[in-house]
Symmetry: C2
Subunit: 422 residues, 2 copies
């Protein structure tokens, strides 16, 4: 087929114009490397991620103007030669633009997506902004670096049921960071062992315990028995210590099973639930939060496959923002957060995704994990700007020479010492 | 803390030995680039993706030997210097090995994961083999290049309800490829327009139509009305043409909504359902297939973010195999399949994932899409080795100078001409 037939018609349908209402759209910001003309690439993305086709012979003109994604801006930042994704060409309209002789244009592209195309569905929103972009053979890489939502759209989302203030009220912890340990060993423990390990850590002064994301419902430790015994233990430790304690249960599983586990967990009286949206679907946190009324922790399983490549996938703050909108009261931060290896700018963007004003949606608790120590508390506090974070610690607790109860106590003491030393 | 405390203890728990039963494990094969000693890296992966910790002071030795992931082999293929993922180091045991002075070891690593850690849950299986591997700061990149399942484990999975033979019986199509068009324009159409477009394409000789993955349940076209009218139209065209026709409805949405849409679709009498597992969760195809008894098409939304980078993520055939096990009767092939830009070896691996013996699990129909033409049929046939494929075509249908009915007819004619010309 000739280029004429294949070329993009009705380009104006895919370009922003000022007669459109900005509140009817969300705006996705992409970093894109492309071997095609940058403006053509942007239109191709808008087209493939909305109408795809606009005209059909033998049909009256369709009324698509409220449904097409629209390019707002294209900024060429530079050029590059390194191939990141294997290139290919297909015989469709979007491949008919002018190709660069060699290498790629590096661009920032802003595209507006009509809310009508996904309405209140986060799954469909995610499909609209990303679904098949990396299936376009001329794209060398793309990274979603931000998504802007109009306030009226955010009103469709309850967001975190509790947020930072609500979690603090519920868990009765003022100002300071919240200390949590994940079940370790994460697999193979009998329920009795898990309960005893958790009990000691809580007695030492930790506020909560959570199932590891790999601690499943299996024949070694059935979920039903586990949640019951953990909740019983929590009550006993609360009586012993006079402090509120909490337990977050892992309900990561196939969808119907997750709904069943959630029901069991609610009946048992757990304090929160663990979900892994990157493998359970973008909509799961919201559904579970709505169904159970419990705080939800959004775990990072498979998330770094999307976020860790600096030019590919989804920028960390975008993932965090989507988690917050979906209703995660607590969200795992990137693995390099609060280390010397992360750019301060990215740390700030991550915190902003959790804390900044986002319609009426509550802020989410950022969750720090991975080799965190009592000695590091001053640094974490400085980076985060307040005690509004959850710290999941295992290594430093578990390796304390006097045992895990002392290991846990050391975190609380270190915090007190730091406060006094201020 | 000193290295002694942090270093990996009980290494033997994370190494394969011949007293273990191979049928109690699945085996994941990784390509890994790492700045740490290769064997140490492999043990670190096995450890982080199973027990994490093995010993706790003040506790008797835990019985973890049936629950730990086990390194089967580590093969160093070479070295590289290019940084793919930003590196970082944390203060946990897995970071305590010997680092390479500069650059990375490129390795093939085989790890056995105990079935006990996820049992029949595909979501938890996926979490076990991939969950936090890219959260390890010394890993420069990793790609899951294969997963082997013992036959006894596969018996937990029904797989595709119909498979190739079942789909052919159901859709009454012998031997030849199955021709399908997706709704285009994909957004903004009224139901009436969709129905009329689909009707013409089916009259032209296409076997089926499907909703586009972006065609949602919204105020422009409600799902309930759409599926009813599409099914009515299918019946009329069947009466007119004397050929069986089919309609696949898009139920991609947030989880509870997807279950509701599935119910509506079943009641309306649709012929199949469209699911996007990469954004809806790995378990969704299986649940929907079980709940509805309908054929399921596994769509590629967001899949290329996982599969297209040649050294990062998940190899295409692994994704296809997981889809087949999860019950997808039809699975989208990679975007560069059947082009001059794909390695033949990868094509064969993709086909093998769909067709090869896999316990008692039926083969899945591979789905070719993206700029496919009538003229290309001979090439597709040659590459796939038989007519056992579904071809989704839009551009070549839509751009036919005599309209879409003729555009569709051209595919059937081209197939007949090709058969005669054999």
């Amino acid at each position: 087929m000739g280029t004429e037939i294949l070329s993009i018609k009705d380009k104006s349908l895919f370009l922003w114009n000022d007669s459109l209402k900005i509140n009817d759209y969300i705006i996705a910001n992409y970093y894109v490397e492309t071997s095609l003309d940058p403006e053509f690439t942007a239109i191709a993305i808008a087209m493939e991620q909305s109408a795809t086709t606009t005209l059909l012979k033998g049909f009256k003109k369709f009324n698509l103007s409220d449904s097409t994604a629209r390019v707002i801006s294209v900024e060429v930042m530079g050029e590059s030669e390194e191939i990141i994704l294997p290139q290919y060409r297909l015989k469709t309209a979007v491949y008919t633009g002018n190709y660069k002789d060699k290498g790629f244009y590096n661009c920032l592209i802003k595209i507006a997506f009509p809310i009508a195309n996904f309405e209140r569905s986060l799954t469909n929103l995610w499909n609209a902004v990303g679904g098949e972009i990396t299936r376009m053979g001329f794209i060398n890489t793309t990274r979603i670096i931000d998504i802007d939502f109009p306030e009226n759209y955010l009103e469709n989302f309850k967001g975190p049921l509790y947020g930072i203030k609500g979690i603090r009220d519920r868990f009765k912890i003022e100002k300071r960071p919240i200390f949590v340990r994940s079940t370790r060993p994460a697999v193979g423990l009998k329920t009795k062992e898990m309960v005893e390990i958790a009990r000691r850590v809580l007695r030492g002064g930790f506020d909560g315990v959570k199932d590891d994301e790999l601690t499943v419902d299996n024949s070694i430790s059935s979920f039903k028995e586990r949640v019951k015994k953990m909740v019983d233990m929590i009550k006993r430790v609360e009586d012993d210590t006079g402090e509120k304690k909490f337990y977050i249960a892992n309900i990561i599983d196939d969808p119907i099973k997750t709904l069943k586990l959630a029901e069991i967990a609610v009946k048992a009286g757990v304090d929160g639930l663990l979900i892994a949206p990157a493998i359970q679907g973008l909509g799961m946190v919201r559904e579970i939060s709505k169904l159970t009324g419990l705080p939800v922790l959004s775990h990072n399983s498979w998330v770094e496959f999307l976020t860790r490549h600096p030019k590919f996938g989804v920028k960390e703050n975008v993932w965090l923002k989507i988690q917050r909108i979906s209703g995660a009261d607590m969200i795992m931060l990137p693995g390099n957060f609060a280390t010397e290896f992360i750019d301060r700018e990215l740390e700030i963007e991550c915190l902003s995704a959790c804390f900044s004003k986002l319609g009426k949606i509550f802020p989410s608790f950022p969750v720090l994990a991975g080799g965190k120590t009592p000695e590091g508390l001053r640094d974490y506090l400085k980076r985060i700007g307040s005690g509004d974070f959850i710290l999941i610690a295992a290594t430093a607790v578990d390796s304390h020479p006097d045992g895990i109860e002392e290991g846990a106590r050391r975190f609380r003491e270190a915090w007190k010492e730091m406060e006094k030393g201020k």
